[in-house]
Symmetry: D2
Subunit: 419 residues, 4 copies
């Protein structure tokens, strides 16, 4: 692409954050001869959207789209992740990953609607987000051309450090941030805030106490728990009730926002991990996912209560795969569509109510009930024999041991010390 | 077996707890004509072992074995579970399951050494423990005969309720417990205490606050965290240090006991779950696993830090299988031996130090370091380009999207709403 | 149950084959006080159904059901297995396993309709079939009582060998077979014939050449191949055409029967294996599955042609699980219903035509075409560059190698000899 | 790199085949200023190695390496694949894939020994081989620079078709092939020959009968089988015997060559498939793998005979993963080293003898025996009850059905038609 000016100018839809980086990219794209449409998705981050709009216009954006995607983000992206118990490498609840296909989908819709053949973003060349954005773009708009300035030598060689961006901004009338940048980068949305880079790159250093914006420090959290009841249907929450206050929420966005509030108040959902990027390197990330953490635990509980053991075992394997696809950016892939379909099927009977408390960073499951429960109180009871014949267990055990017989001949004994 | 008196009397090794049930079984076995050897394993439960010994002798046990298995329980059973990140159905750390093969192994050793062809236990006919005990017995001593009174009609029809046991006890001079039985049953060892049955059988009822014996109620726990550093080698802890106090432990039993103390003090490791028994029914269990929970988190952290991504993915799948085997009682099976070997191999480079804090029921990872780290601070840095060429990412993404091309023809577009 | 005579007599539905064993069981059940309804399923085995009917009536069956299940066997049981590429332990196409739930389902329907609370079968106590029958019964009719004489001591201790059965038969007017029994047992249906036991129990002995009834000895098969074209839709065959003769079949039963004829003529689908029974022992089995083998290969071909790589990878894993469930008797289990649903979903685009030849025991795929093909001739062509940019591959490879970098430091080199 | 001449000239080790393509690359690299060392691996392909040597020298190669890798190819690469039952997408025995790391490893050894920082190959930009070569190179020699001319625009734009190569060859004194090129490309080694491209790119076209070089057309193969006995130890063949002729082979290379001869004579191991490349596209390939196919079947048989069922189930999953790694080029990756270690462990008891016949394209297993057999003839016998108590099976089945009970309440019945 480089320095060639296009006639008539090509249109590019730029994922615009209002920050220094994407403001510079906006101007740079114009310099490169593009008509630039900016697009800023509201996925629940704290942002002055009006200011961002004005800023984009003042920098010469041909059109400015500010899109409120919060409801569809919860319903179409977070909810399937809850159903899947999606967790990456046993710890990360995928708050950033799950937002990317939601954001990129609308970007592509705008590009198609505006007749733009180009899209652009400010994601770096070492991260996961570039992949998540672009795989979504290619899947939904195969002919699209993607401009990723942080992978274009003439861009990244020109803007080696923040100082270069600042100079460029000043020269081109881009408002320069007055507050100093935090010594890390962050990404926020309704589901979580992630923190990485800068001083966090040393995996041994502890995160500073004032880092977290979404959750209270557990040490400063209330000294008594809040008890919530979450009602599920088909594996997604349909209602949350504060047991004492009687207050309840019942739309997806309200439910999730309320769980964020409750989780945030009690410091729930903070983790500090090293994870494996799709690109092959390990990185250190700190995440706070208050509402998502509560839902993860509550869903797990109602699922185990209502789902057959062996179905769940298969579904668990599919969930692990789903989490990898989501992390790696393959939401809009044939395999992810397939797996989502299967997981959705598995959730048909996942319904009922879970009571839990949130307190000092922790979620405690307290009890559950369900019209679809597979829990059979009489069958399991120690006090009631019921239909169950204990003698059957003898046969069951003996048949399970048949395989061992031949294995116990001399010389084949398990080599454990002491035997 | 039933009412026939054997001449000369056969010898049975009874897993004896000192409680009402196994005391009655002891006497009943004698009535049935057996010579009874009692065996009580010390795996870290709170118990008056001397009193139990005397009681068994007074009830006519031919021999009494009290065996301190704590060190081997930690080294040979808990440590491999830590390496495997063994967790059943995403939540249960398997504290009961992992003790069973340890206990049964020694029981079999005693049976062989004493020339006994029979072993007996007091596990119920609906539970997992009968399976765990007996599969171990059959694997290590295929010719053994197992007497499980709670599955023998003439026994369980005679002792339908606790009242029957009490009457039998009184009649046979078995000391009857003076304190009333808790309205639930519990199983304790070094790794955890489990609570189930009785009033806990209603899955909706909250557990009473005074249930827990191993961990403090988080609400009553100290208001400031303790910070620990755990050092790992080959995937197992070799040292734990209290960072502020400078105190440290470095033998397996001491390390684990100290982690129990720290975790217990801060209320770490309580869960309330419904789980799927091997026998096919769902049951509700409440567990407290203070030290095990700390180790689970610390090990996960150092493992991800030092293990290749794809190796870990395979190891994770093996760990899930290992947890199922362990839960179902297959520790001494060919497949479990195989999986333990593979997991052990995967842990060769899992070494380094993890810093963490325990506070109000929660474990927080703070930082980690390792001579075997695969984390490359320069490679991942946002500020340093290093050897990494961002342009490569473009090719990587495009090739990953090749599969989508054909899928995007008309009629094959993902059917997500809004597109 | 045993010797007690029931008043009024209970009704039992007996799966009756017309042979010596189940004829004796019929009479024995009557002796035990049952009203016996016999049920014989036509699932494609060679059998004189009229003679069997008369025999059952003459032996005192209260009612006799002869049910032609061939069409539903193909459509509802074989077709899903084809979709799943169901193969047990990499070799066995599950011809016996897949028939069992089909047979037992009708037996249960008859039992419910006739108000019978008992069902009975002549399967042995060491095999898989008892499990497959009974799990189906319990799943579809949980209150059912199952009478499995070969697991009832008073039956199996009375009929220790074939001689005992013969004597009993003579005594009770049961017609005794005049031809000597083959020195092995066999099970036949539309999908396959299996041979086991007797002289086949020695795993080293070669199977006699005259064993096979469904397929020609490849040495005696025609010296030129037959070329067939099979058309699939949603993963199941909808038409088979003999390319030279122009002859074609297009109903499930006709298609499968014709493939059996063609495969049989050319000796296709013979295997001699040792397999692992669910009950824990290894057994030796010899199978001939002519039509099923052709379909297995043809379906595999059209599936790979039309299914996305990653979807297929997941589906392959589900297929392995499905085969295990099928083998173990869990067709009517929640997990098998779930997996069938998922596999069915994966087959939506599996359509097109496969040409193949059958010759001397072998199936050769010759070519394939499909309107839903994901094969892109231009993309893959060595002569056309198309949209594909070879430079992208460089980035793809380099990013895939990022993980190796840190691993190549001194001391971490792969320890392969010579490097 | 392009047109810059390096002083002093850099050295590149070129994987040289002696054909037109790599001869042109040799000369082109010299033009580009490199000192070129050619390297030709003998992995069992039919080739005039002397002529290739002379040709390379005459074209200006600074040094010429002809390396006989056949023995290490069999022992270090084919044998582990046999142990793993490595098969890609259920059909392809990976004959090309398994040769690549073997070839590239030596190339890297030569590069290191000769102080060359560059390696080059003639693999195309759309295929798998480029990845397999290069991942091996990066893993074993991370600092290496790879020159892949078919991915360098100035090369591939200059040589668009074969005509361009011919002209270049004539101009630079490169001997031009006199026989016309086959209308497909092939790759041959000891394990197999693959055919693809050209007229084979149409997936519907049948392969011409004269394509195959390694196997006889089954129609022309002998009319009577050869019977072989293969002896295994630790999962690899240690001896093959022609049962009638008494002839035997017992070194890896001899064993494998002899199996190729036998399989080739009988037309064993031909497949025609569409497969999924790592690069994301589907391609059509035709393969003949005579010896490898025999070994695949024989190993499967002895493995099932000697390996515990559940161990094998886990090993099977690892084998599927291994096959994918192998296909995708990850032989020298941490995960593949790990999986090979695990699979190797699983093979410890895989020993014994398998008798089989090869005939008209097919391999028939006839019988097997082993000192490590887990097959228990008495246990499985229909005529002997042995230790096995059939009553145990009743309990086993009932406990397995416990999960179904709750599922059979009204409204939860399986929705299969007819029930």
């Amino acid at each position: 692409m480089s320095s060639s000016i296009h006639f008539p100018p090509c249109t590019v839809v730029l994922a615009y954050s209002g920050g220094l980086d994407t403001s510079c990219i906006l101007v740079w794209l114009k310099e490169e001869g593009y008509d630039v449409i900016t697009y800023l998705a509201n996925i629940g981050q704290v942002e002055d959207f009006d200011a961002a709009k004005k800023k984009a216009e003042s920098l010469g954006a041909k059109k400015v789209f500010i899109e409120d995607l919060r409801a569809e983000f919860v319903e179409e992206f977070i909810w399937p992740s809850v159903q899947a118990s999606a967790i990456y490498e046993d710890r990360y609840l995928l708050g950033t990953s799950v937002a990317r296909p939601c954001i990129a989908r609308r970007q592509i819709q705008i590009a198609r609607q505006e007749g733009a053949q180009y899209v652009s973003h400010g994601a770096t060349g070492k991260g996961n987000d570039q992949i998540r954005f672009e795989l979504t773009c290619y899947a939904l708009y195969p002919e699209v051309q993607i401009i990723a300035p942080w992978r274009i030598p003439e861009f990244y060689n020109r803007f080696v450090g923040r100082k270069d961006l600042m100079e460029y901004a000043e020269k081109h009338g881009i408002p320069v941030p007055v507050t100093p940048k935090a010594p890390w980068s962050m990404d926020a949305n309704l589901m979580h805030i992630s923190y990485e880079s800068g001083i966090l790159e040393n995996p041994k250093s502890h995160a500073p106490a004032d880092l977290y914006l979404m959750t209270k420090n557990p040490e400063d959290a209330p000294n008594s728990p809040d008890v919530l009841e979450i009602e599920f249907k088909k594996g997604v929450p349909i209602k949350v009730t504060h047991v004492k206050e009687g207050k309840s929420k019942d739309t997806p966005l309200d439910i999730f926002s309320y769980l964020n509030e409750m989780g945030g108040r009690h410091g729930v959902g903070r983790i500090d991990i090293v994870e494996n990027r799709f690109i092959g390197m390990k990185s250190r990330g700190i995440y706070e996912t208050p509402g998502g953490t509560i839902l993860y635990h509550a869903h797990l509980d109602i699922e185990t209560f209502t789902m057959d053991r062996e179905v769940r075992r298969i579904k668990q394997g599919l969930g692990v795969k789903f989490a990898e696809m989501l992390y790696n950016g393959f939401w809009y892939s044939p395999e992810c569509e397939f797996v989502r379909h299967c997981i959705d099927k598995s959730q048909e009977s996942v319904e009922g109510k879970v009571q839990l408390s949130v307190f000092k960073g922790q979620v405690y499951i307290l009890g559950r009930e369900s019209p679809k429960s597979l829990y059979n109180e009489e069958l399991v009871s120690m006090d009631v024999q019921g239909d169950y014949d204990p003698c059957d267990a003898s046969g069951f055990i003996k048949i399970n041991a048949v395989r061992f017989v031949r294995l116990s001949l001399p010389g084949q004994l398990p080599a454990s010390p002491g035997i």
